[in-house]
Symmetry: C2
Subunit: 449 residues, 2 copies
């Protein structure tokens, strides 16, 4: 069966070896735990959808990036595709909301952590298979929803160990109000926002140039820069500024007032002190109808996640609107940043097992298994060296796998009812009564972490 | 955006609503916990593989059942497929073992719990997307490996609450030895085993008929039935019987002796009392080279999982053999049986949240969020009713979602620093100091489970 073909995973995908999975599961476990404490419930949908469910939902570019699956069996020859791989978690959610409308609660709050697939050109940090991690709260337009989401997301990041993140916050109506106040025609809004979105990165002069390049008159561009200039100092100053600027713009003023409510509520939650109102935050704009949110850390271009209110999307299969507000955490980026910053607890990076039981000789097999069973009863992760081999070789194996302790029961130890526990870091070996072995190893692990 | 298309998931796939996911996650959590305590490490591979990695690995029938993905972009028109969805977890494991041979430990023990996809005709209990849940221990031929796997699998089932399962055990060499002793020609082994595998279900007469139908002479068929008759009473009697029957068959006798070693070792583990040596157990036979294992419960036709030793498969991309022994738990069947038998703990089926905070009026929003935050700090899952609404309506909503407790902070309660906790089952309402509210709810939950 030898075979010369490549054994790499397909381009743009990754194998997750044990250490990778442990890191990913740590993050996912924290996310899940926090979201459950906030009353979000888990949802999972199939990896593929009927192709017509996805086609046309992501624009022309999106259509091209959808992985399409050949019709099965005798139809394969035609090249026809009838299924397509999940492209995001929002369209499946909209389908689920339509399909189970009579079973789901009025205020359906769900989290979903599953892979999606995009036929993108693979590049550094750009994958064809990656996880999305979404929460969405449906059925209410109350600002309590935004505040709860901002709190939940902040708690996730704080629990993971991020202490330097900022939640940027804006409102679609305020954004539109400012653009209209500046005199940008509706048709130019999208263009203007693409340019204004770069204020942080390229500065006002370059943005002004880009605005005029995109066909916006120089005086309008100048007014834009004036209106969108960021106010320093907490959330209050920019809120006041927005209120003043949008005084004469009904919808804009309403948006600014809503933003103030959200900020006031969120400041009493886990998001306290994190929020920065940023009038230029747009996040692509197209489907947000209310609050727009994004999380950033200083040393990372781009965001760790974003979201907002989108009241016209979740009802796409229902034929009526359902208010919704959601947030998507950038799971893959979070893992990258945490790895770079060495933020994972020792236990997560901590090897395959807590202790390895050595095997003295073939006659000692049953006793090695029994000892392993005793240690496992206390919750320890226990490996058994499967073959009678030189002890030195077994120690070396344990070291190579980062197993911190090794348990040795030779004939003498067995006769005396003791176990020798070797600390693989210090090399120190301690004889302990067999009944105390689990507690002894557990204490070693505690000292270590 | 209204749309008349179906919102059902594609044929043969399922949406998992929150209660479903909680049940699935409970089972997966137990499996993962036990396997980690046995030193198995997690592995995850991409949902799709390069198509040539999978084609030809599952026989002609299998080739047809592989979901194939169209080549991307401008190549879509040709109908050519270059990727294929994961069909099982063994071929990806073999690929990983070849690709990372220098990074993986000598005795690589991995678990993998991921969906696979098969373009099968959907039917009751037969899905196109379903989870597989595999452990495999590579690198050693020691019977310690089999004993550890039998123990781990038994511990999973016991922890899930199964107390009536049996581990059927056989050995490929004993099986072959018995067939040769009965006089079945090598070419007829596969046929004979298909028939003998039905002994349990259709009885000896029907099996004899099927054996002769399959071209096995009547006297050979009769001898088969004699040799494969099951011995009652523990593991010892059939082991002795096998040893006697295979005395004159070198390989068979060696297999029987190995089986005896495995049984002896496993009887000192969590598998104690579960093992039944069954000389007719074949499980399709083709790739097992040593032990063959299967788990059964009395009220279920078919098994809850199976596995065995297969020393010639994992090296398929390496060009050299790697000994391996594995077990695949039937996750989907386990969930079905546990649901039918009502085996899930109350907490798993226990609704979306532990407590719901009501919203008195818009001015009370901030305080409701603050109370939710306090309750969450103690680990409770807390939902907040997002809108000021009639209390009766809020109670009804909590009931419909199986939320056991509701927290009410009206103006009076706030003034007094208390919270009213309503038990949604008894209807009883208790005023508790706000600082004690979390502990009070936690106690209610304990009493409930």
């Amino acid at each position: 069966m030898a075979d010369k073909q490549s054994t790499k995973p397909p381009g743009g995908t990754r194998d997750f070896l044990p250490d990778d999975v442990r890191r990913r599961e740590h993050v996912i476990g924290v996310v899940r735990g926090v979201y459950e404490r906030y009353g979000f419930e888990p949802l999972e949908t199939p990896a593929f959808e009927n192709i017509e469910t996805l086609l046309g939902k992501y624009g022309e570019e999106g259509n091209k990036l959808i992985f399409k699956i050949l019709k099965r069996g005798e139809h394969e020859g035609t090249g026809e595709a009838d299924l397509a791989l999940r492209y995001d978690l929002t369209v499946p959610l909209a389908r689920v909301v339509a399909q189970y409308q009579n079973e789901l609660p009025k205020f359906f709050k769900r989290y979903q952590i599953q892979p999606v697939w995009r036929a993108d050109r693979p590049a550094r940090g750009r994958f064809r298979e990656f996880y999305q991690c979404d929460i969405d709260a449906m059925g209410s337009t109350s600002p309590v929803v935004e505040a709860e989401i901002l709190s939940a997301v902040s708690e996730v990041l704080a629990t993971l160990g991020f202490n330097d993140f900022t939640v940027r916050l804006n409102h679609r109506a305020a954004l539109t109000g400012l653009l209209e106040t500046a005199g940008v025609a509706a048709a130019g809004h999208a263009d203007a926002l693409v340019a204004l979105d770069k204020l942080d990165k390229i500065g006002p002069q370059a943005v002004a140039a880009e605005l005029t390049n995109r066909g916006i008159a120089a005086d309008v561009a100048a007014k834009c820069l004036l209106l969108f200039a960021e106010e320093q100092g907490g959330a209050e100053a920019p809120l006041d500024r927005l209120a003043t600027l949008l005084r004469a713009h009904d919808a804009g003023a309403k948006g600014a007032a809503e933003l103030r409510q959200i900020v006031a509520l969120a400041e009493g939650t886990a998001a306290a002190g994190r929020i920065r109102v940023d009038p230029s935050l747009a996040r692509g704009l197209s489907y947000y109808t209310g609050a727009i949110m994004e999380i950033a850390v200083p040393d990372l271009a781009g965001s760790l996640g974003g979201g907002g209110r989108y009241d016209n999307l979740i009802g796409m299969f229902l034929g009526r609107d359902i208010p919704a507000c959601g947030f998507s955490l950038g799971l893959e980026r979070i893992i990258v940043v945490m790895t770079e910053r060495n933020m994972f607890p020792a236990a997560v990076a901590g090897g395959a097992a807590d202790v390895m039981v050595t095997l003295w000789n073939d006659d000692a097999r049953a006793d090695a298994l029994a000892l392993a069973g005793e240690l496992r009863k206390s919750g320890l992760r226990v490996d058994v060296y499967p073959e009678a081999d030189k002890l030195g070789k077994q120690f070396k194996y344990a070291s190579s796998r980062n197993v911190p302790c090794v348990a040795i029961v030779g004939d003498d130890e067995r006769a005396q009812g003791i176990v020798a526990i070797k600390d693989m870091k210090s090399g120190e070996q301690t004889a302990v009564p067999r009944a105390d072995a689990a507690a002894f190893v557990a204490r070693k692990l505690e000292l270590r972490s």
